[in-house]
């Protein structure tokens, strides 16, 4: 290779690298329902990137994302009005369940609590009929948002 050729090839090579990086990130993200929940646990991180509890707290409260307060009360979010009472209070939930169990609950609670549960699965394609056009083929939370919410739940400790 001549110097000139290397120089000219550089942008293309960089572009190739960027492409590789993107596909690596996608390959590292576990697709919905591709890893089975066993014994109410999902040990494997969905992204390989550690969850961010601060971002998780936001996704938990955001009505367009987790909207977890619709059903659960949580003292840590007392600044928000009107916590639901359909599910258990989540205070101390990080003491009651470990990370792999919490991930399983958020990904698809039906695999943990049974088919009858009202709690939606936030990272599954096993959903109801006639999904609205805007939501088709999509999970409620992204893989990283699940990791973030799980990291946040682990901070909800009483002991």
């Amino acid at each position: 290779m001549t110097k000139g050729a290397t120089f000219k090839a550089l942008p293309a090579a960089l572009a190739g690298l960027a492409l590789m990086a993107a596909s690596v990130a996608t390959a590292g993200t576990v697709a919905p329902d591709s890893v089975p929940i066993e014994d109410m646990e999902l040990k494997q991180s969905l992204t390989g990137t550690a969850g961010d509890a601060v971002a998780g707290r936001e996704a938990f409260a955001d009505r367009k994302k987790g909207n977890c307060l619709a059903c659960h009360a949580n003292t840590d979010l007392n600044e928000q009005l009107f916590h639901g009472e359909v599910g258990p209070v989540l205070d101390g939930v990080g003491d009651r369940w470990d990370e792999a169990q919490l991930r399983a609950i958020v990904v698809n609670s039906k695999d943990v609590f049974g088919e009858q549960t009202i709690m939606p699965g936030f990272y599954t394609m096993k959903v109801g009929i006639n999904v609205a056009e805007d939501n088709q083929g999509q999970t409620i939370l992204t893989a990283q948002e699940v990791e973030d919410v799980v990291a946040y739940l682990l901070t909800l400790k009483e002991n």
Partner: protein, 285 residues
């Protein structure tokens, strides 16, 4: 873990360490309109019903909202009753007729009528609700255009007609035509989970009535007050509008108003409220 989680859930519910949590359950109160007419808002459920007791949505609303419904002078829905009465008496269409031209004594003719819908319509081969009946009369007898879904006049006239049965028990006749088959279909839909959130009517109104879902207090989802005046919208809300709203909230596409699916649901859900007194116009959040 599988066995302990229920008790854990119960334990955490007992803790209720949060001031933001609300306390649910139907309120123990009586609905007496203008201090005169008591409405049956709690009745024993018939054989084969999922509940022991059927309870009106009125019991799940705040004190202020309940009081509005109990005072016909303050109930904003009463304006629609008045408007509906005007429409009843107004000539429209090429035949030069009003509803009153055919049904002379409205007081006598309409008493109890609204409490018995939806009703089998043999010509159409399907159940009719009040809205469909109005549209049929407009087209066939008045030679007027049918109302579009949720047209202001459709809501007002329906409200007026239902109000003429206030306090009378809701009763659907499942022995007529194919009503039973429509009931079956409606029941199936009631338990079918829809949308990205994967929820059925039963997930909310059967399994969790009495609980708060955020700021909303889940009722049994009965229909004896429709059309209802909704404070949130400052408007009368028709039954099919409410159905569609609940379905949309599961992040699903919703069926067309008066489609077979929603008519089947109306037959079934009306039956679930059998015996409750008609409350139209009920006031809701």
């Amino acid at each position: 873990m599988a066995k302990t989680y229920k008790s854990i859930a119960l334990f955490s519910a007992l803790l209720m360490g949060t001031g933001a949590a609300l306390a649910g359950g139907p309120v123990d109160d009586k609905l007496v309109i203008d201090g005169e007419m008591e409405i049956q808002t709690r009745v024993a459920a018939p054989e084969g019903h999922p509940f022991d007791e059927i309870i009106s949505g009125w019991h799940y609303r705040t004190e202020e909202t309940r009081a509005l419904e109990a005072d016909s002078f303050q109930n904003p829905g009463m304006l629609y009753v008045e408007r509906g009465e005007e429409i009843w008496n107004t000539v429209d269409g090429d035949a030069g007729k009003s509803c009153a031209s055919c049904h002379e004594d409205a007081g006598e003719f309409l008493k109890g009528l609204g409490a018995s819908y939806p009703k089998w319509n043999a010509d159409a081969g399907k159940p009719f609700n009040i809205e469909l009946q109005i549209n049929q009369c407009r087209e066939k007898n008045m030679q007027a255009k049918p109302y579009k879904f949720d047209a202001a006049d459709q809501k007002a006239l329906t409200t007026y007609i239902k109000h003429q049965s206030i306090g009378m028990p809701v009763e659907v006749d499942l022995t007529q035509g194919d009503m039973q088959a429509w009931w079956d279909k409606g029941k199936e839909l009631y338990y079918t989970r829809t949308g990205q959130l994967n929820l059925a009517c039963a997930s909310c109104h059967e399994d969790y009535n009495g609980k708060y879902i955020r700021a909303d207090h889940l009722s049994q989802g009965n229909v004896n007050g429709f059309p209802t005046y909704r404070l949130k919208q400052s408007e009368m809300v028709s039954l099919h509008n409410r159905f569609r709203g609940c379905i949309r909230d599961t992040r699903a596409e919703f069926p067309a108003a008066f489609s077979d699916d929603l008519m089947a649901l109306e037959v079934y859900v009306t039956w679930r409220g059998s015996g409750l007194g008609v409350e139209t116009p009920a006031v809701r959040q």
